[in-house]
């Protein structure tokens, strides 16, 4: 028995039958208005746009396009709520609302997960196990801070800033809303939130939850729309603070526009994270970490480990195992509970990924693409690894924001640090080694806001997150996250 020679085996030959989550759980309405002053209203100019399911390009719902006038109404509602209600509400009271919101998110977790996957294209496994539980965890965490601000290290009785304008991206729609709203509300601010144009739905379900929680009208207002809505919010004189998560280009524009105002600003922008792998790394977990670092959420992660820096002595072995593992990823229907990699969020993003990967081939990198069969409709990109990449290649420098990994090699820790830091970004890095002293030596020299050791893409509300250099400034999460919403 033991000596018999078998054919080379393919992984995953126990074929899994489809196990789709039901779309009807989403209970979506055909159209949504703007959430201003505690209730849904039609946009003043009656303009609307549709939001698509990126996995099949079908229309899921129609959403209001907020005009400058609508933004004005939202800011006025937020100002009124701030002055008459929220700034006079005690920390303990605010805490109760936040706990209530957190519990309601948990109660409606399945519905929210389905909405998120329909609107964003991410696998239901991720929205179910990561996005929604983490969003609830952020509300729980900051609920605990609301009545303890005196002890947060910002002096006695730190004051809120006022009205916060918050603009969030499409990659983690509900989670980013939670990252922005929870600390702002805990600190006593009121908010005008603008979700991303392609993923407005989970924020609108959150609006329903805020109603259920009986949050006073105007404390949170949600205005949907495209870039013009965001610009109106950024330029509005009634806004005291802008918090933005998104691309570095838009972040730069926002910083220019608020430069001549009194507005405070925090930016969480792009990245080109380096995952640094030493030869003594725990190899199986490291391979999983690299895969998770770049293919989690289709690589639509600002802190994605999109550059793999691998020690030359194990580069061939790591590449062989990585390619084998990529081939094993289950790409397809995001609603299937066994899907690992879902759809690209939009046609525009797909075009950007295609452009950069075509460049990568042109520049001479060696391309390995999963042989998975992609669905006919919708926006899809097969998981891809580029080997033989050098520092000067575009795919080693620019943020691709897709399921594409660039592999580079190094020989010494100094070279690894030099290559990791040779970027305009500075959001996140990973270090893989069983030798603690080396991990610390490397971590101290990396210029990045977040450094993971022997793991990647792990998030927790108690841990501050944010970047340096062109990855932005300000921190979200943890005690540090309060500072962005306190007048300190």
């Amino acid at each position: 028995m033991t000596e018999k020679k078998l054919a080379n085996s393919q992984l995953g030959s126990l074929e899994y039958d489809p196990a789709p989550e039901s779309a009807s759980i989403a209970r979506l309405k055909p159209s949504y208005g703007l959430f201003i002053d505690g209730s849904f209203s039609d946009p003043s100019k009656h303009e609307q746009f549709v939001t698509l399911n990126p996995a099949n390009e079908e229309v899921i719902a129609t959403v209001a396009q907020a005009s400058a006038g609508d933004v004005d109404a939202a800011v006025a509602a937020a100002r009124h709520a701030y002055e008459t209600v929220w700034s006079k509400t005690t920390g303990a009271e605010r805490s109760k609302y936040l706990f209530r919101i957190a519990r309601l998110i948990q109660e409606r977790a399945r519905e929210l997960a389905v909405v998120e996957t329909l609107d964003n294209g991410k696998p239901i496994r991720e929205s179910r196990d990561v996005d929604i539980p983490l969003a609830a965890a952020h509300f729980f965490y900051y609920a605990g801070w609301a009545d303890k601000l005196d002890h947060a290290g910002f002096g006695a009785d730190p004051r809120p800033i006022g009205v916060a304008g918050q603009i969030i991206p499409w990659n983690f729609p509900l989670l980013m809303a939670a990252w922005k709203l929870a600390p702002a509300l805990a600190a006593g601010n009121t908010c005008v939130l603008k979700p991303a144009e392609t993923t407005p739905l989970s924020a609108l379900i959150l609006a329903e939850i805020l109603q259920q929680a009986e949050l006073p009208p105007g404390v949170v207002n949600i205005v949907t729309g495209n870039g013009t809505t965001g610009a109106a919010l950024v330029d509005h004189p009634g806004v005291d603070k802008i918090a933005f998560t998104g691309s570095t280009d838009v972040g730069r524009l926002i910083q220019q526009r608020v430069a001549s105002s009194q507005k405070r600003l925090t930016l969480e922008l792009g990245g080109k994270g380096a995952n640094i792998v030493f030869e003594d790394a725990p190899i199986d977990e490291m391979i999983e970490g690299i895969i998770d670092g770049i293919f989690f959420n289709q690589g639509h992660v600002c802190c994605a480990g999109s550059r793999l820096l691998v020690q030359e002595s194990i580069a061939d072995e790591v590449l062989r195992r990585l390619v084998r593992r990529v081939e094993q990823l289950r790409v397809g229907d995001p609603m299937d509970k066994n899907t690992d990699v879902g759809a690209i969020n939009s046609a525009a993003q797909l075009a950007r990924i295609q452009e950069l990967t075509a460049f990568g081939e042109g520049e001479g990198a060696t391309r390995y693409t999963s042989s998975c069969v992609l669905p006919e409709n919708g926006y899809w990109f097969a998981p891809t690894i580029f080997a033989d990449v050098s520092q000067s290649h575009r795919i080693a420098r620019e943020e691709i924001f897709g399921p594409v990994l660039s592999v580079l090699t190094f020989r010494t820790p100094e070279e690894a640090v030099a290559k990791a830091n040779n970027t305009n970004y500075g959001l996140a890095c990973g270090v893989w080694s069983e030798k603690g002293s080396r991990t610390l030596w490397v971590a101290q020299r990396l210029r990045a806001g977040v450094i993971w050791a022997n793991t990647y893409n792990r998030f927790d509300p108690t841990s501050p997150f944010g970047g340096v250099r062109e990855s932005g400034f300000g921190r979200e999460g943890g005690r540090h996250g309060l500072e962005a919403y306190l007048n300190v």
């Binding site: 028995m1 033991t2 085996s9 393919q10 992984l11 995953g12 899994y16 790394a281 199986d284 970490g289």
Partner: protein, 322 residues
């Protein structure tokens, strides 16, 4: 590159390195990559969320039944109980002959002859625990005699325990020599080496003990005796599956894995099959290379099988207890 270039690559010729000295063995084992406990547990937990439904579930249930080593290892075991076990092993559900037989019955050495006589030439193997099971605390001579008698009585498979005390105190050569001696005494019988991972505690130890057993000639590596507090867990199984995969890729020799202890229901069994499927692949999805050591698991598999066919559960008492 074609898709075939990416699977698990097993060389066609077997080249297991000969181990000449304890120092060489130690160097081989300590050169193995470490295991990050947090990462291994996260990976096992992630695979546990796979959703196995419909025809996949039916096929997986039948596969799991065919992989069961139906076990009774109690001081109170009797020939009558073993006879009943053998009947159940052959025809797990006497009313439905499409249910496959299990892989083996697993008993103490003194009941091997009885089990052999009941099963006769039936396609169910007789497995026997041996080497002073479960503690392994006896001299090598006693252990080898234990094995010799079980094989002579008709055991097709021997489940030995390693000397955990020797392993943990670093006497790796002693453990290696014992496994090699037992393997020789087994003759034609297949050797499963029980690592007792609950007593090895760390995943690094599990990986090293797995390689040690395979280098010494194990046909199977097995998690546990079922007699200690911590038995088979999915992260331990993951680490052992990675070990057999890497060993096969390095040496060309394919070693099986048996998980034992605490696997009581179909859901647990499905988790292990998914682990096998996504860690080592189809080669190992056979009773020749993957086994469940269990007693109560079989009835739950039968119950879930009927549930899949009829759409409703039957009473647990529909199936025989022993």
């Amino acid at each position: 590159m074609s898709k075939d270039d990416y699977g698990v690559k097993i060389p066609r010729t077997s080249t297991v390195p000969a181990v000449g000295s304890e120092a060489q063995l130690r160097a081989l084992l300590t050169a193995l990559s470490g295991v990050d406990a947090v990462g291994a547990e996260a990976r096992a937990a992630q695979l546990a969320t796979r959703s196995i439904k419909k025809s996949t579930k039916l096929a997986a249930i039948d596969l799991a039944i065919s992989m069961v080593d139906l076990t009774t290892l109690e001081g109170a075991d009797t020939p009558g109980r073993v006879s009943s076990l053998c009947a159940k092993a052959l025809r797990p559900d006497p009313r439905d002959l499409t249910v496959p037989s299990v892989a083996a019955v697993c008993v103490y050495p003194d009941l091997v002859a009885h089990a052999r006589s009941v099963l006769a030439d039936a396609p169910v193997a007789v497995a026997s625990v041996a080497t002073a099971f479960p503690s392994g605390r006896a001299s090598l001579n006693v252990k080898l005699l234990d094995v010799h008698e079980a094989v002579a009585a008709g055991a097709n498979e021997i489940d030995m325990v390693i000397d955990r005390g020797a392993f943990l105190s670093g006497r790796l050569g002693q453990v290696f020599d014992e496994v090699a001696a037992v393997k020789e005494t087994c003759g034609e019988a297949h050797l499963k080496v029980i690592l007792e991972t609950g007593e090895l505690v760390t995943y690094d130890n599990v990986r090293r003990a797995s390689w040690l057993a395979m280098l010494a000639g194990a046909d199977f590596i097995k998690t546990s005796t079922g007699k200690v507090t911590v038995n088979a867990t999915t992260p331990v199984a993951l680490v052992m599956l990675e070990a057999v995969r890497d060993f096969a890729e390095t040496t060309g020799r394919i070693v099986g894995v048996k998980v034992a202890g605490g696997i009581r229901n179909t859901k647990d069994a499905m988790k292990y099959l998914v682990l096998v499927n996504e860690t080592v692949g189809s080669t190992w999805l056979t009773p020749d290379l993957f086994r469940f050591g269990a007693s109560s698991l079989l009835n739950d598999l039968l119950m879930q099988r009927l549930k899949q066919q009829r759409g409703a559960y039957v009473r647990p008492d529909e199936f025989s207890g022993d």
